[in-house]
Subunit: 243 residues, 2 copies
DNA sequence: GAGTGGTCTAGACCACTTT
DNA sequence: AAGTGGTCTAGACCACTCC
């Protein structure tokens, strides 16, 4: 492979990384499938195995690929057990993961308001799906979520599909709409429960709740989902590792 | 270098990483200083430069070392401008970093209670410093922190030192006590402001606050600091990147 | 045993910083 | 020009998985 004439130096392995990402976006290899072996990729791109290796390492570090010694390199998916809670940071106070199930409360087609439109980089008034759901732990509601999805990306989404989805919604996005959630940014505030929230979450009005805003992105930092969740934190908390 | 006979395979570069970490712990290279060049280290450990490289890469990924092309590899420090906010996740709603200064409110020698003792892995009743401070933005208090430090590690700590510390306390720990904060774990809840908190933060009693518990660790996962902070989130929020 | 990713080496050369 | 980290190569061999 020829190094592109560049005003600023761009390493070969980054170019390879870009080509691999393109193939991922184009769906050449689907979530859960294995990609070609390192030697095959090296042949294909006419570089050494070491260079392919560095590109794959970078994508694995970003959780786009998963390496398995002796088996191969696989396209990451949200359906796997071990990543079910990849974006869920709420745990019980004792530290155990929460087993939640989703209860659909509302589903509507609508138009993006200013706040959502800006976060999702949509034109004002773009068509969106506006969804409300609760996350239950056993019989008790722990989180109430408002979820907004761009109509263009999730065309044809319907209520029944969502109501029947078990596990993470991100695996649904992936399998049904070919949209892969890669990273997310959360903004957290403490707020007082409104009348409606208090009733839904069975707390007193004005009770302190965690409000978690999330924008989720796919490849190339393209936003695909807007969320606002209100979470009761008695017996539960939000965890974060800093380094 | 001879590969250690091992029941389970342990890569060479991990062993080198361990040796480098030992030197860091022992203080052979101090924060801000440069470590020997890759070729020097390769000679010293009798391995190839590539192997040293991989070990250094790993430590750089953990933020223990900082690589600077053309200059060398340096021991990370908390005094640098760009890492001042390494552990501070509170930002203004517009996204700009907050410029805070610390105001010391209380300083006492005491004994660890059960909760703190457990988190800091101290024996019940161990001597600790018990500190209260506020983080101000301009004239307004934004966060109220309770900070507990093990007496053994921070022997000789006094009130004036803390009161005169500008910037992150972690640089003080580093420079004065040789204790390097490496990583931290935070647990976040929404709580209602107590009488005392309401007065300190100038909010109404019962107002929702973010309660952020943090345990900070040094090398080998040894806990060095316990914190509980209460944070007002009007105009500010806690940010987190998920991937 | 064959195929995969993972480690390690030795050497060449490039990009960046300082002298 | 010298010294540092950064890239890239080619090849050998190791560890793991599956047939």
């Amino acid at each position: 492979m020829q190094r592109a004439a560049a005003p600023r130096f761009r390493p070969l392995y980054e170019q390879i990384k870009g080509l691999l990402t393109q193939s991922l976006v184009a769906g050449e290899w689907k979530p859960g499938e294995s990609i070609p072996s390192e030697v095959d990729l090296a042949t294909r791109y006419k570089v050494s195995q070491g260079t392919v290796r560095k590109a794959v390492d970078a994508l694995a570090a970003e959780n786009l690929l998963i390496r398995r010694q002796g088996k191969g390199t696989f396209v990451a998916t949200h359906s796997e057990e071990n990543v079910q809670h990849r974006f869920l940071r709420i745990v019980a106070d004792e530290g155990s993961a929460v087993a939640t199930h989703s209860v659909l409360l509302g589903f509507a087609r609508g138009r993006a308001n200013n706040e959502v439109g800006q976060d999702l980089r949509l034109h004002a008034g773009s068509a969106v799906y506006w969804i409300t759901r609760a996350l239950h732990v056993g019989a008790r509601a722990l989180v109430l979520d408002e979820i907004v999805l761009p109509g263009e990306i999730f065309a044809g989404l319907d209520q029944d599909t969502l109501a029947n989805t078990r596990g993470s919604w991100y695996s649904l996005y992936e399998s049904t709409f070919g949209v892969r959630a890669i990273r997310a940014r959360e903004q957290i505030k403490a707020v007082a429960a409104s009348e409606y929230l208090a009733k839904s979450l069975k707390v007193v009005r004005g009770a302190p709740l965690l409000r978690v805003d999330r924008v989720t992105y796919t490849y190339d930092d393209r936003p695909i989902e807007w969320r606002r969740g209100w979470c009761k934190t008695e017996g539960y908390h939000y965890v974060n590792e800093l380094s």
